[in-house]
């Protein structure tokens, strides 16, 4: 890391520390009632207490599980459907209007439908999370498949490559930067919907923990849950960026 980057990094930490100090100050001065706003000290203590008792671990595991299953299901389905639509001009023409109708549909509008059909179950949560997370992946895949350099298809034709080989050796790798970007967006969507589903359906997870803590006016526990959700979002997104960086190493010199 060079000098400038180091200074920026230090500055960004200083800003974060400043916000935490401000939060502590507001809490200490009781500008907001301690019933609603704990200081960072109390939130941290609640976080530690939750971990040592094991309660938070199981909640965290629950949320990660919902998120991971929903996201993986969305990724597999999104890439598969996106590949089929994206690789055919006819399909794009026919399907695009339906997609344009479905895409802006708020996923929250789907939740009552999902609950009516599947009940307050894990299956409902999986469906809702996957349904919400599939859009960025599918649309990115369609775009990636549609944007494959036509010259490469001609190379494939002159090599008499099979359809399957063309998909796996040319179209998928060519679309991979788009697909991975879509998957990164979906990761956030999956986390949000995991929490929403846990709150609505009372499924085991951080969403449920946050809801119960709020109802019981345990503000420190509530904030511990919120902090943990923030960390989860951050860590998964960083992990995804690292994976992207590794998988797209061939792009590094083009940037």
């Amino acid at each position: 890391m060079n000098r400038t980057a180091l200074i920026w990094r230090v500055a960004s930490f200083a800003v974060a520390a400043g916000f935490i100090a401000l939060w502590q100050l507001i809490a200490n001065l009781k500008l907001v009632s301690p019933v609603f706003l704990p200081g960072p000290d109390r939130a941290w203590a609640a976080l530690m207490r939750g971990f040592s008792s094991g309660d938070l671990w199981s909640k965290l595991a629950g949320t990660l599980e919902h998120m991971a299953y929903g996201w993986l299901a969305a990724s597999i389905a999104g890439i598969a459907i996106g590949a089929i639509i994206g690789s055919s001009r006819t399909m794009r023409t026919y399907v695009a209007p339906s997609l344009e109708f479905l895409r802006p549909l708020p996923v929250s509008a789907i939740i009552p439908v999902a609950i009516a059909m599947l009940g307050l179950t894990q299956a409902m949560a999986l469906f809702v999370i996957a349904f919400g997370a599939i859009w960025p992946i599918m649309l990115a895949t369609i775009h990636g498949f549609a944007a494959v350099e036509p010259r490469l298809y001609e190379v494939a034709r002159s090599l008499q490559m099979s359809r399957l080989a063309v998909i796996f050796k040319i179209a998928l790798p060519s679309a991979s930067p788009d697909i991975l970007a879509g998957m990164r967006l979906s990761l956030t969507v999956a986390l949000i919907l995991s929490v929403v589903c846990e709150i609505l359906a009372g499924l085991d997870g951080l969403g449920h923990w946050v809801l119960l803590s709020a109802r019981a006016f345990r503000s420190a526990d509530l904030f511990a849950g919120v902090i943990l959700l923030g960390v989860t979002g951050y860590v998964t997104s960083v992990a995804m960026s690292l994976a992207e960086h590794r998988l797209l190493a061939w792009q590094a010199s083009q940037r």
Binding site: E149, S158, L159, W250
Partner: protein, 267 residues
């Protein structure tokens, strides 16, 4: 010298064309691009096609590749009608940057052709190394195309085409985007590669000197619609040499004839 002699023999002793255009017409979008083109390319022959832009040179090459189907007439390969592209016919595209897989290294790009040809995994590394050495890229196996110069990328594309072990090599202005020095070097390398493999070549270019320097025969196309306007046999000794060949009286005579033809088509 030995390979050059073998080449000449290959050109002269077989009369049946490897690629034959028989009254080929191609219309795309209501516009006739090529009209009634008849042309035979003998096995081992090096045929160059020149012409003003828009005369259908590249289209003719794509017909020979099987990437286009004629709307009239027939294109035959070894006496069989061409219905689709085939591995025995390799194409070197002008835009090497688009024709290579940016996510594969040099070795990986060559490997694509070997994979398509069904070569067992264990045999590929040795063959890849050999091909990269042949085109003058030893030691670059691990580089991505984006890390290579234009000349190197075009060499890589040629290596991938050689990996197809083609009977026919189609080249579409392969050196058009390269600087003069790189171009001359690659011209000589292509000549020696072709001499060694005995492949038939159709080479499209807008550089008249290049066409005479490389070819056994040069065909000039007339535009709108594309048809043959001039056909020259190049009786220059092989192997050719950048200095002495280009100073040869026959070279200069052909050059004048071809320039006059192109000038006339542009009026």
């Amino acid at each position: 010298m030995a390979s050059a002699a073998k080449r000449l023999e290959a050109v002269s002793d077989t009369a049946t064309p490897q690629i034959a255009f028989d009254g080929v017409t191609l219309a795309l979008g209501g516009k006739t691009i090529i009209e009634n083109l008849s042309l035979g390319v003998r096995p081992g022959e090096f045929l160059c096609i020149v012409g003003a832009s828009g005369c259908g040179k590249t289209t003719a090459l794509r017909l020979a590749a099987g990437l286009y189907q004629p709307t009239g007439g027939r294109v035959n390969f070894d006496g069989q009608p061409m219905r689709e592209p085939r591995r025995e016919i390799a194409i070197v595209f002008q835009d090497y940057g688009k024709a290579l897989l940016p996510w594969r290294t040099a070795a990986g790009n060559v490997s694509l052709a070997l994979e398509a040809g069904g070569m067992p995994t264990a045999e590929r590394p040795a063959r890849i190394e050999e091909l990269l050495r042949t085109v003058g890229l030893p030691g670059h196996a691990g580089k991505y195309p984006s890390e290579m110069s234009g000349g190197m990328q075009q060499r890589l594309q040629i290596a991938r085409c050689l990996a197809q072990e083609p009977k026919t090599l189609l080249m579409d202005e392969p050196f058009g985007a390269l600087d003069a020095m790189t171009r001359q070097g690659l011209q000589d390398e292509v000549l020696s590669l072709v001499a060694a493999s005995g492949a038939t070549v159709i080479f499209v270019t807008h550089d008249l000197d290049e066409a005479i320097y490389l070819g056994d025969r040069v065909i000039g196309l007339l535009p709108h619609p594309g048809r043959i306007g001039i056909e020259l046999s190049v009786n220059l000794p092989r192997p050719r040499d950048q200095l002495s060949t280009r100073e040869h009286p026959e070279f200069l005579r052909l050059r004048r004839q071809l320039f006059d033809f192109i000038k006339a088509t542009e009026q």
